[in-house]
């Protein structure tokens, strides 16, 4: 057996410098822990209470140490609110926060592919009242189960195949958010809006997961259904983005270009524009 020769000094120096740049990031850690607390709240109330509430001991510290401007701080208020007895105001606030969160999260959902499903799930977690719903615990584990394959011995090998994780937003408990017990008055005023948004999201999710499975016709069908049912919906920007993607996937570069042009006119400040331009140039048909 021949031992591996040590790194050459130049690479060793470069790697040491690279290592030094990954400093500890307490704020980021605290922000993710908070969000994780919400996520796990859906799966199991007992864990959520210990994670979300500042527990005694060293592990409570990150909550306190998070600076106000910490990333994703916007999701904090409803996360930190006491779990039981979500009142009308809290629900209304949740709904408002959720709209904002959706705008932000949709990008992640689109960008992160298979992970996107989970990210969209978070928008629904944000929509859901904080009170943990026992019914949810049956759904979340199944949605995340594929990730567990990495725990097997020799995990890297199957992982390297990049096998589809089959985590799609549609697997997540979208509809179940409406099942949560809320105070009747709050429910009356928000349930309609919530179910509309959930319906919209379901169509967008369908289009997105069809795209991921390279079924661009199905993606277009879902996007067109969204256009018919929700011409003024909250997720029109995402829909139009998905249409450009689906047309490109279909090989319709001209159609995609024309939709992209109208997209840029309609949403001149959209965060999707750089991605659209990149996609168009990458798939430009050779002359």
């Amino acid at each position: 057996m021949s031992d591996l020769e040590p790194l050459s000094p130049d690479l060793a120096k470069l790697f040491a410098e690279e290592r030094a740049t990954h400093a500890e990031n307490a704020a980021r850690r605290a922000a993710v822990l908070r969000r994780l607390g919400t996520a796990i709240a859906i799966g199991g109330a007992e864990i959520a209470s210990s994670i979300v509430s500042p527990a005694p001991g060293s592990l409570g510290a990150p909550h306190a140490s998070a600076p106000p401007g910490a990333p994703n701080g916007g999701t904090t208020p409803h996360v930190a609110s006491p779990a039981p007895a979500v009142g009308a105001n809290a629900v209304a606030t949740s709904a408002k926060v959720a709209i904002g969160v959706i705008q932000k999260k949709i990008l992640v959902a689109t960008v992160a592919g298979a992970l996107g499903g989970l990210a969209v799930g978070e928008t629904h977690r944000a929509l859901a009242p904080v009170a943990p719903a026992p019914a949810m615990s049956q759904h979340v584990p199944s949605a995340t189960q594929p990730a567990l394959s990495t725990t097997q011995p020799g995990a890297i090998t199957p992982v390297a195949n990049e096998s589809p994780s089959a985590i799609f937003a549609s697997d997540l408990p979208v509809a179940h958010t409406a099942d949560h017990p809320t105070s009747p008055s709050a429910a009356a005023s928000t349930s309609a809006a919530r179910s509309t948004l959930a319906d919209e999201q379901a169509l967008i999710d369908r289009a997105r997961s069809a795209l991921l499975r390279q079924r661009s016709d199905d993606a277009l069908a879902a996007a067109n259904e969204h256009a018919q049912r929700f011409p003024q919906g909250k997720l029109v920007e995402d829909r139009d983005m998905l249409i450009v993607q689906a047309l490109l996937a279909n090989g319709d570069h001209k159609g995609a270009e024309s939709r992209a042009a109208s997209f840029k006119r309609t949403y001149p400040k959209s965060i999707y524009i750089p991605a659209i331009e990149r996609m168009l140039s990458e798939r430009k048909p050779s002359p």
Binding site: E24, V32, I47, L59, L118
Partner: protein
Amino acid sequence: METTFRELFEAHFDFVVRTLLRLGVREADVDDVAQELFLAVHKALDSWDRARSIRPWLFGFAHKFAANYRRLGWHRGRELEDDPISARIVDKLHARDVVLRVLDTMDFDQRALIVMHDLEEFSAVEIAAQLNVPVNTVYSRVRVGRQAFREALATLGETANV
């Protein structure tokens, strides 16, 4: 179990984040990916074989999530790559940018091996156990990976500066 999970999270979050970054997840997305990763870790905690080191186990999760992230091919390369690479830009890059950009050009598995062995400094024995291959195979793959890294680095026009 909660305590274990939280301790694990606190102790290894930074490791997971830098591993995801080194495996190609973009800075803007890394919090979300890390969150979903730890969600999966939480579900899988019972199956963690405590006789084995935890970091290679967590690395398996990072590998899986980074691979899924890449699968969509949304983020191809880093933003700076939209510009032609000039020596002037490279000069200004931090070691981290240089390393991440070089890693971006490598085969995913070679990249994972360099991250484990040379950046994270896992022992060859740990890596061999994780990959289920002989230690000598780890050595030879690291050699190949280093060669690939060096070639990519040269392509980046950075050799003279490191």
